[in-house]
């Protein structure tokens, strides 16, 4: 089994067609994890309602094995930060993350969780949960449709299936150098102290710079002439 990582892909597919399924321990493990994501039952604002809608009959998150919403962080392995994280709430969110067992994943759902969204100019709104927590997936939208959350969960499952458990580039949970807990910010006289976790996030050096200088490489100019 340990050599399966080096088995070439075409041979594996060929065998699968003949009814012989060969897999590595790693991908079997990841396959199991990806299809039994237990999210933390934890909603902050508007996006939480769309998150609930995604678990309901029409969209049925259970089809992806992610319907077991656990009220206790100890039993959860996916935190969907759904809604505005205020400065008053942020320490609790970090504490909940710390209490979750490894391996754990964070989805920032909605504009507010990603960047503070439309409320980011305010005195009590955290400009993105990625200042304190390592976010695995961002789902923009205000709020994202339930399908967008499903799309995000599918993306996350792909990410988990592609994770390595050993060697360089291994997943965060398997890397002993990566902490499983992050410091909890404190209430200060005008906001949180520290305002961000410098290990996870740094303020952009030039906020006015074009965020996307190599943009042409991403989307080519369309000409059909």
């Amino acid at each position: 089994m340990t050599t399966m990582g080096t088995t070439d892909e075409s041979l594996r597919q060929d065998l699968a067609r003949r009814g012989v399924h060969v897999t590595s321990l790693e991908s079997l493990y990841n396959w199991g994890r990806a299809h039994s994501l237990w999210p933390l039952q934890f909603g902050l604002a508007c996006c939480a309602i769309e998150m609930i809608a995604a678990t309901m009959a029409r969209h049925d998150l259970a089809r992806f094995g992610a319907e077991v919403f656990r009220p206790s962080p100890r039993q959860a392995d996916l935190m969907i930060v759904a809604g505005t994280v205020t400065k008053k709430m942020a320490p609790m969110v970090v504490r909940l993350y710390n209490q979750m067992a490894n391996p754990k994943y964070v989805i920032a759902m909605g504009a507010c969780a990603i960047s503070g969204g439309p409320f980011r100019e305010g005195y009590n709104v955290l400009r993105g949960i990625d200042r304190y927590l390592p976010v695995d997936l961002y789902i923009p939208g205000c709020p994202p449709r339930p399908e967008a959350l499903l799309h995000g969960v599918i993306r996350l499952q792909e990410l988990i299936r592609g994770e390595k458990l050993s060697g360089p580039g291994r997943s965060r949970a398997a890397d002993p150098a990566v902490p499983g807990e992050y410091p909890i910010p404190n209430y200060g006289p005008a906001g949180l102290r520290p305002p961000f976790n410098p290990d996870l996030w740094q303020p952009p050096s030039d906020p006015d710079a074009a965020p996307d200088d190599g943009s042409d490489a991403v989307t080519p100019r369309e000409t059909t002439a």
Binding site: I114, G117, E121, Y138, H151, R221, T224
Partner: protein, 209 residues
């Protein structure tokens, strides 16, 4: 309603009946069979459905054909401050009527469609595409000009009724403008002719005197 005149437990049974009807009904009754298996099946979104804005371009070139003239109305009116426009300048340094940079941060956009509502040129419209989940925050969450530009054909495909209205309106405007230009030219020509006639009738022009 507050006093029950029945055996205890009957109310519970009635409730169970409802649950049972829902349970078994969800196998055959189309009213209770509502699940849409998302990646394979998709809900048919109504035409007005909106998520994030995009820029419309006419013709074949996604840069030259942009309807946007960089008037910055949407940038000023955007409630979440998600739009950033830098106006282009021509070779003489004068402001040109197209955007040099047009960026919409979809990490802050709340899809309220006010930009589309206030745009005087029908250049910015709302897309209904919602699959934007990404692992990064800076690059995938800021849509630049090239990513925002979508053809009028695309607009017609997602919103046929609205796009047809917009096209008719733009055509009308173009026609009116053309008409006005023609009239102006006509008037100028008439004036010129009248002046020429007057000059012919009065050969002793002032410069001679």
């Amino acid at each position: 309603m507050r006093k029950l005149k029945q055996l205890p437990g009957v109310g519970l049974l009635k409730g169970m009946l409802v649950t049972g009807r829902n349970f078994f009904g969800s196998y055959r009754n189309p009213r209770r069979l509502v699940t849409v298996s998302y990646p394979e099946q998709r809900l048919l979104l109504p035409e007005s459905s909106r998520n994030f804005p995009f820029l419309v371009y006419d013709g074949n070139d996604s840069v030259e054909g942009l309807r946007c003239v960089a008037c910055k109305t949407c940038e000023r009116e955007c409630p979440s401050g998600a739009i950033r426009i830098v106006q282009a300048r021509d070779e003489n340094g004068r402001p040109a009527k197209h955007p040099e940079r047009f960026e919409i941060g979809i990490d802050a956009c709340m899809g309220c469609q006010i930009c589309a509502e206030v745009c005087p040129f029908d250049a910015i419209k709302m897309d209904s595409d919602y699959e934007h989940a990404a692992t990064g925050r800076t690059r995938p969450m800021v849509h630049n000009k090239l990513r925002l530009a979508k053809s009028n054909t695309y607009y017609h495909r997602i919103k046929p009724r609205e796009a047809a209205e917009v096209d008719a309106r733009l055509e009308m405007e173009r026609f009116r403008k053309e008409e006005a230009r023609r009239k102006r030219e006509e008037a100028a020509r008439m004036k010129k002719e009248a002046a020429a006639k007057a000059a012919a009738a009065k050969p002793e022009a002032p410069e001679n005197s």
